[in-house]
Subunit: 242 residues, 6 copies
């Protein structure tokens, strides 16, 4: 059985900027990575599309879906699911939450990925994380759909938000994504509506590479990484060696 | 070359209660673990001895040293060094700091262990951590004793203080020490002057075992650990897989 | 008129582990302590029952209720009420909240007890605390059911969560429960489905006893307590002497 | 086009105590300030009225509205709107939120003002701030009511809560309101039901004046301010000179 | 034996503004309160004196001492000691610290009072608190001047700084000082060099009285206090009843 | 009289990476900016030089000084002073502190710039900030060198550290440095020993430009900035308009 991972993305493009490298890398390592896009970001993150004449909500959603699918393909995503729950604001009722629980249980992820715990610019982001924790808990409950395989205790990694310091986000792990950077850059370039962010997130990946090296051995010559991604862990790790 | 680790202990007994399991386990895994006791805890942590008639500072230090050496032996410590700098308060001048830098460079630890960053009950503890960070930095400097091998960027783990919540200490890693618990208990029993803590730290180890299991798989049946120790990391990790 | 206290417990067993000693002690001191169990913990905290053949939600709830009633009896609880609102997730609509307000007003507690403010493992817990604060506020409103006696400003104590450091919970008061420990242990033993926690929470009580002594006089011989419980206050105290 | 500002006040009187000076001052500077009262505070903040014989919810709301309108007039408020959503607890459904978005877009404020992020005494307050952030985000979305003018990125200032330290509120800007203090005091005196707070908030304004002076030049003779108000910024500023 | 308390004041006037009420009240309750002024605040808190012609350091110190002694008398202070260690910056060597330890041991205080833990405006203040914690620890050590009576574990209360929110100071206890307000005001008026603060700290006392009432029973009619002081506890309390 | 600013830099190169843009911009705006380098970073931040044969401390200091002077020239620095106090660790005795106080008083800065408050990688950095606060306080004291002009209450901005999230640094102001970027880049290129950081800090400046735009008007088209720098304020601002 291959290992699995699950990404919970508030809007269609979030998984690309924030953990595209982790997705491509773990796919390469043999994981099966599932991405759930709770919304398309159709209202709040598609300004460029809305500036076109004759635009409708359906057209925006279609365009965003196509971009996300192309990016997912570039990253070798195992499965991408669009919940189409609406954005700005994203709202999940019990049914939507249980649908997410179903996915969590079906995937049985070794680890999960979602947004930062706080984001005053984008309340959808922190709401997604809150729901991720709630659904992780429900997925662990023996009394929820008894007979299904319950969830263990996977780590929840919070991926990098925009303007990290404003979100109180502090990475405690850096992942070397140098070997899959080309895939992440290709996925980024699928996001035609947000071209102003291509260069930005390339800079981020390069500077996180610097942080990787700083922490893997410091000034005396740590192992280099050309590109990296940072993550914040919600739960403690359990190990047999420090 | 065997891997190495370095413990910086403000007083003679701290390394036993707080990371005795980590020491014994890593020795078993082939590490060489060095322990530096900055003081004997002769003034502040030897109440039982001082209540005896005719006690002197030298007698207390000798007694504390013997206990610490016996505990170190029980834990298979590779090397234990007593800096004998005095306690309550512990004060380190430049010379003492550079002596610690020398040890850090000689050991070239894969990781370091010291106290929590805050401790209003015991300012020696937080002072030791502050000095550990300062000396780690000096050991990385190419211009300090040029020609010596400079330090890389080892993790600094903060071991468990007494009354964790008052110290703002939050463990992010639990280490399974079940297989060396007997050694840790034996080391604990060397601390004759602090017998009231034997049971206390046995409880801690058992309850940290419970936390290990909670986080290694949760209610659905995580891997059990009978005894564990918790640590807080100061620096982020660098990994090739989440 | 006897003094009163009110415990708001997300699931049927929480009040036992987390404040069973406080309940029994205050009953002994002449208080009337009411416990509200918002749910039975039937879905999320009854793994052992669900592993039995032919189990149903109703059977689990019945079993959990019986356990909770037995524990309440062991603790001399004045009144225990089961709101049966469902768990994992616990959700309270306006009606359920106003029902809780009714209880708060009827009891007129000198102090209230509930969960920690944060709990990423169990979102029901932090939700219960959030609702406790909201309902405390409504109970203070002169315009809510005008004519009823409004609530004063009772302290809200947050009782000890599992894995305190992960919840950001910091106790600022330790209560000596030595004289009622037998009752608490008896109540704990009513929780047949969670036998793995009996020893754990006995350890907790013993180690909190150590903390009590540390803070009641320290190394020079503070007043001992064999067993204690810790609590975090939400609101400041008002006193006539420090 | 005059500059504009928007105040989001959970209850009818909050804008008076907490930012009455800012309102009057900016009106004097040529701004048009709109105040939205989400509720009248009719249930929770009208104790004095409810103690009168024969009081009804409608009578309280009418009285509170009259007070708020009089205060608004004293402060030269450009526009005051009463959403009448109910209080203790304040609850806003999607429709109410979108109504607030409509106001935000119509006003196009240069800055917004609302409550502290945390308030365990009054959950309506922190709920209002949470909704303010959510609605600010929706107002920025090109796909929300396409064709309308979207919102830029106005600062959200959190005005001073009662018992600041308990709310974790920390002012990072002090506004000199000396020249409009008479207006603020007049507005305060419109709040007949809360006479016990007149003196309290006069003290606050005087002491914030002291803080203004402390930070505008310190002990060596900073510019004095007789009365001031403090605010906490949610977002960073963008400047051309420090 | 009367109960005792100990105030550690960085500069000569701090004890008046920040805990003058607590001093007078506890004296009235039968405590013997000792005040240690580590410096006279002669360089940094005597601007008015320095603006006079022909002023010298000795003259300033003499004037400040007289003011402090007069204030101490107004508050019925049992004993006031001037360490005359210099200010701006305050620096304490080992000898000065041990002198403070001697006082702590001689007094054997039931509780201690000092400054906030953080103060970016006045580093002497936070330094005094750091030293207070260090000396409290040394005073507890059986090996420090063996034979002397060691210290127990008294609470350390942090009294109210100027601009509380900037210092991260959060009061968890309010003390009703109404019955000794006249004494505190008289002591305040001894501070001729800082007349601009008389009104300020009267406002503070009144508003803390409001907070007292809010927390002693809230809107429904808590016990009033005309004047109060707030304190933050460093250590948890130990109790027999919540 | 021109306005002035003061930069306190722990090591010779810090002012370039962290606030080179602010320096050049304010010089252009007519300010006179003074830079104090407390050390040359000769031991800890000159790895490349130390790897050369026959290197000595004096040679390193000379080389670092030349680089810093060249960078200062590129930025149009008004005055650069080298205190030559040594690094790794940086230690300042009373004499060195008072020398810094002299500079502060001579410059009478409208604002000051220094390091982040916390830096576990580089304790020199946080030490410099601690000393900056202490010396700012001393410079305000009328009794320190009576007769000199005392300092007002200038803002202390903390400039951007490496790995911002690990330092707990949160910018609250972004400065548009686009018009002086060429000067900053030229200054950066003077740092021959740290070429690996040229690209890194160019990325930083570009991404801070993105943050500037995000906060100056958001997605709906805020004012662009090609390059920016971020700063964290220690003290609140005082304003006449929000």
């Amino acid at each position: 059985m291959p290992k699995t991972a699950l990404v919970i993305s508030a809007h269609a493009a979030d998984f690309v900027w924030r953990c595209g490298g982790a997705i491509a890398l773990h796919q390469k390592r043999g994981y099966e990575v599932t991405v759930v896009c709770l919304s398309f970001g159709e209202r709040g993150e598609s300004a460029k599309l809305w500036k076109q004449q004759g635009m409708t909500l359906e057209k925006v959603k279609t365009a965003r879906r196509k971009e996300a699918e192309a990016a997912a393909k570039a990253l070798d995503v195992h499965d991408i699911q669009f919940f189409d729950l609406g954005d700005y604001p994203l709202v999940m009722d019990q049914e939507a939450k249980f649908r997410l629980v179903d996915v969590i249980r079906a995937v049985q992820p070794a680890f999960m990925l979602s947004h930062s715990s706080y984001d005053p610019y984008n309340t959808d982001h922190m709401y997604a994380t809150q729901v991720a924790l709630e659904c992780r808990m429900v997925a662990q409950a023996w009394g929820h759909n008894p007979g299904q395989k319950v969830l263990g205790a996977p780590q929840l990694y919070l991926f990098e938000p925009h303007q990290t310091e404003q979100m109180g986000w502090k990475p405690d792990v850096f992942l070397d994504i140098s070997e899959v950077w080309d895939k992440k850059r290709a996925a980024i370039e699928c996001m035609e509506g947000q071209q102003h962010l291509w260069h930005y997130y390339t800079n981020v990946a390069e500077n996180r590479g610097n942080h990787f090296q700083r922490n893997s051995g410091g000034q005396s010559g740590g192992r280099p990484a050309i590109h990296a991604e940072g993550f914040q862990s919600v739960f403690p790790r359990t190990v047999d060696e420090l």
